[in-house]
Symmetry: C2
Subunit: 157 residues, 2 copies
DNA sequence: GTAGATGATTATGTGATATAACTATCCGGG
DNA sequence: CCCGGATAGTTATATCACATAATCATCTAC
């Protein structure tokens, strides 16, 4: 019997193990394109929804605003997106993809989707849907679920 | 339409979002017990399988040996596990839970399992099994899936 | 008995993520 | 009209998770 059998009963543990097994590989897939997970996701939403402001992207991707700054800097310096003064608000920038950015996203997306398909090659389509639905349910429940936990315990070692 | 609809098609993205939504909450559940995710998982395998060596724990939990050292130091200083000289190998230590460690694990485990149950409260039992099976399939496929990816691309920005 | 492998450790680096504080600008009530 | 509080972006910084290289002691195989 595997020594982590007890941990494997926890959905959270399985998520963590799957996540750490996958994230490094995703970064290696994106590296030839000059992208990381975070910058790929930003490029994706900028291509899919041009004109968003940085705060909007922050909300959509759950990336803190300060961390977005450097990511957007890098994408802009690579010539894939541009910051454009927002109409009627001199504080804000609208983010737009460049032509090169759209093309580059299409290429990277192809590689990443091929990789993602391999990840789930052992699963049939209903199983993939069930997996994604389950993950989304957990993601939604996550922040709420800590209410009312037992708060007693001991001091940290 | 949500701006990350394209990303949501990627299993990897959904795993990352669920993971980051859950991990902070897990840590907050464990904090009153003086544990973090990593130290909880080590305590779990030591309680479930006493006598393992540090290298064994490293393999089971996919934690690098160097990182294990401090985790085990903390658990030992808290009086929950002990390093015992391995029979016939003076380099190695066998890890054993103390009585206090077993009791403490039982308490923390209760809180964590209650939390984990809330995470999946929107899912019925078959959906939970499907979720865990899917995660395990992805975890297994993860390291292999990067073979043969398109390696062309551009320089990093 | 020596060479190469292995267990544990130390030191160190990197990436992801969170927080506090700052500047510039917007907006609404007096 | 202008003043105070909110908001957009930025800077600096801290923390945590995770990985690598190098070291020391000991084991094992030849």
């Amino acid at each position: 019997m595997s020594s982590d059998a007890d941990l494997r009963r926890l959905v959270g543990y399985n998520i963590q193990r799957a996540s750490s097994a996958v994230m490094g590989a995703v970064n290696r897939v994106l590296k030839p394109f000059g992208l990381r997970r975070a910058s790929y996701s930003v490029l994706s939403v900028v291509v899919e929804t041009p004109g968003l402001r940085q705060a909007d992207v922050s909300d959509v991707l759950a990336i803190e605003r300060p961390n977005l700054v450097q990511i957007i800097d890098a994408l802009e310096q690579a010539g894939w997106i541009s910051r454009r003064q927002a109409e009627g608000d001199r504080r804000a920038y609208e983010l737009h993809p460049t032509l090169a950015g759209r093309a580059h996203y299409t290429e990277a997306r192809g590689a990443l989707m091929a990789f993602d398909a391999k990840l789930t090659s052992a699963l049939d389509q209903p199983a993939i849907w069930a997996l994604i639905d389950g993950l989304n349910a957990v993601e939604e429940a996550g922040p709420e679920a800590e209410e009312g936990e037992a708060r007693r315990g001991v001091q940290a070692p």
